[in-house]
């Protein structure tokens, strides 16, 4: 365990009121803190996970952070200015590193009695279902779905010269490098990252049975951004329906330029900012009743990259991810959960013949959670990862996680 993680674990124990703190449970809030007559509300999540060494980087969210060894503090705030305007924000710190603004936007409700909202700023993801879940309490396991966390070798700021150069990075998304654009090794991107939110404007309309959202943002699904890097926006949309209680059906789509201007210019010259896009479609379903919740989500994504040197990348790169997840409560405060997850990629033709452009990966994770208090949850999970490529083709990893929220 690194010194940073030891420090994180110690702080987690203190924050959670464990061990030597007398009457810790009494001094910690159990509900959101309301100020200014309820106009300002502050809530928080503290998550501390300790797990196996992930030498295959299956759970890394960038080059340095693994979801299985993570101390995270989230503070969320809403400031209700009046019945039309609300400011919302979330700051987050991971492993006592840099404090980051995860979300910061204004929510405008033009007509109070109609379910129409406009959100502008660093807004919640429009696409898919998982990224908007409250991670600490609404993720029954410790690991993330692959589509939202697993790092492919693709980078928005660097491009492979040929199919062979891309194929050399199979299973190395945690630290890939290409010869066009930024040549420094960096981590690649997830299909639809759950770790950063995009910046732009979002329109949401809701009725009893159907919700619809459309958004225009600076980044893309794989690469949400604060500032634009290619002078063209992404458009994303989602429609979800609740035909009967407990059933939610959703479809999502998004399209936007993925490659940065600098990388595109380095590859094919000026004027091609908008050519190299990421397009994605998604479908999700959730059904819950009694003591169980079942969820499934599938995301198909396609990236268009420039065809440069031989053997050229002559087809768009595609990825298809599907997971099925379930949770069942055994008795008050105790549940078991599991997720089966696969992320696959289409073939491209290199010098050695056709091969998937990144290494397909499968994860099976099972776990359990026990609530010591209503807002203090302990999770344990074990996952088996298998990958058709990379230095470490398979790994069985375990993790425990403590979650405190108010």
């Amino acid at each position: 365990m690194t010194s940073g993680l030891r420090r994180a674990a110690l702080l987690a124990a203190v924050a959670l009121g464990g061990g030597t703190l007398p009457a810790g449970a009494q001094v910690l809030p159990s509900e959101p803190i309301a100020l200014a007559g309820g106009h300002v509300t502050v809530s928080g999540d503290v998550t501390a996970a300790i797990g196996s060494d992930d030498t295959g980087f299956f759970n890394y969210t960038d080059y340095e952070h693994s979801a299985l060894k993570l101390f995270r503090v989230d503070l969320s705030t809403s400031v209700t200015l009046n019945s039309h305007f609300t400011l919302l924000g979330e700051i987050r710190d991971e492993n006592i590193d840099t404090l980051r603004a995860y979300a910061f936007y204004v929510r405008i409700r033009p007509w109070i009695d109609r379910g129409i909202d406009i959100q502008a700023g660093r807004v919640p993801p429009t696409f898919g279902a998982f990224a908007r879940r409250v991670y600490a309490t609404d993720n029954p396991l410790v690991g993330y779905p692959l589509a939202y966390q697993y790092l492919t070798s693709l980078r928005p700021d660097a491009l492979p010269w040929s199919a062979d150069e891309l194929l050399r990075m199979r299973g190395r998304g945690w630290l890939s490098n290409f010869s066009i654009g930024n040549q420094e090794p960096e981590n690649g991107v997830a299909v639809a990252t759950a770790f950063r939110w995009d910046t732009g404007i979002q329109l949401h309309a809701a009725s009893d049975k159907v919700d619809g959202t459309v958004a225009v943002t600076t980044g893309t699904l794989s690469n949400p951004r604060i500032t634009d890097d290619n002078s063209a926006p992404q458009v994303a949309a989602r429609v979800s329906a609740r035909p009967i209680p407990g059933l939610v059906l959703g479809v999502s789509a998004s399209r936007g330029p993925f490659v940065s201007s600098t990388a595109a210019r380095g590859a094919v010259g000026d004027g091609h900012d908008r050519d190299f896009t990421q397009t994605a479609w998604g479908g999700d379903i959730e059904y819950s009743r009694g003591y169980y919740v079942l969820r499934a989500e599938t995301i198909w994504s396609e990236w268009k990259l420039p065809a440069l040197g031989a053997p050229v990348i002559d087809t768009p790169l595609q990825a298809l991810s599907t997971y099925v997840e379930g949770r069942y409560k055994l008795r008050p405060g105790l549940y078991v959960a599991g997720r089966v997850d696969h992320l696959g990629f289409n073939d491209i033709v290199g010098s050695a013949g056709p091969q998937s452009w990144d290494a397909p990966v499968t994860r099976v994770e099972v776990g359990a959670g026990y609530s010591l208090l209503r807002n203090l949850l302990l999770k344990i999970s074990v996952q088996r990862n298998t990958r058709d490529g990379g230095r470490v083709p398979s790994a069985t990893l375990a993790a425990v996680q403590a979650v405190y929220w108010f």
């Binding site: 969320s76 919302l88 924000g89 929510r107 409250v134 979002q202 959202t213 009694g290 003591y291 209503r374």
Partner: protein, 217 residues
């Protein structure tokens, strides 16, 4: 706190031989009215949820005898009570019952709720169920049960379970009255949202009414 709800027969109880029972009445004044729990900031939501705050049921307190007359337990008859889930709130917010009472938890909303409690007095989880359905829970032990919804974190309520019938839920003005108390001296406690007064010795006169006011918070 939960032990305070268990009826005792202390030596302080006097006058049980009196023929006519008395009563205690008064008012609980709240210096600060507890506000309903705010929902957690819905930062990840694509839109706002419409929810009206109603503090009327936060004005109600519970007044009870810390120590009940001897024989009080024999008079307790199990009954039914209802705690509704309506407009993402538990209604009523505070329920005072005797041991053996079965509480029904109907869902009157068009969305799922999931009632649960991790209280030592009664640990239960009713799972998710839709509008029109109701699940009963029987409370056999005295104590305080905090009730929550697993889906809507701002929904919470209290159930105070007594092993004797000498308690009263105040009205919205804080007025209470406990009848049929055998004459004697009793410790009386006022409670509101987890805050309680110090036990106060009150003499119940033979066939009369004792007056006692409380200030909380």
């Amino acid at each position: 706190m939960s032990s305070a709800l268990i009826a005792q027969s202390p030596s302080a109880i006097r006058g049980l031989r009196a023929a006519r029972n008395g009563a205690i009445r008064g008012r609980v004044d709240l210096r600060k009215v507890p506000t309903p729990s705010e929902p957690r900031p819905n930062v990840a939501d694509l839109g706002a949820a419409v929810r009206a705050l109603d503090i009327s049921d936060r004005l109600r307190s519970v007044v009870y005898l810390e120590s009940a007359p001897r024989g009080a337990f024999e008079t307790v008859e199990p009954t039914h009570a209802v705690m509704d889930q309506r407009g993402e709130r538990f209604v009523p917010h505070i329920l005072a019952i005797t041991t053996g009472t079965t509480v029904d938890f109907p869902n009157s909303d068009h969305i799922y709720h999931n009632v649960f409690s991790l209280s030592k007095t009664k640990r239960f989880d009713l799972g998710r169920y839709a509008a029109g359905h109701s699940v009963p829970v029987r409370f056999d032990r005295p104590g305080i049960v905090r009730v929550f919804c697993d889906i809507h974190s701002h929904m919470n309520a209290f159930i105070l379970v007594f092993s004797h019938p000498f308690f009263s839920l105040t009205d919205n003005d804080g007025r209470f009255r406990i009848d049929n108390i055998p004459p004697g001296v009793y410790n009386v406690i006022a409670w509101n949202e987890g805050v309680q007064s110090d036990p106060r010795a009150v003499t119940i006169p033979d066939g009369g009414i004792a007056e006692e006011d409380f200030v909380l918070r």
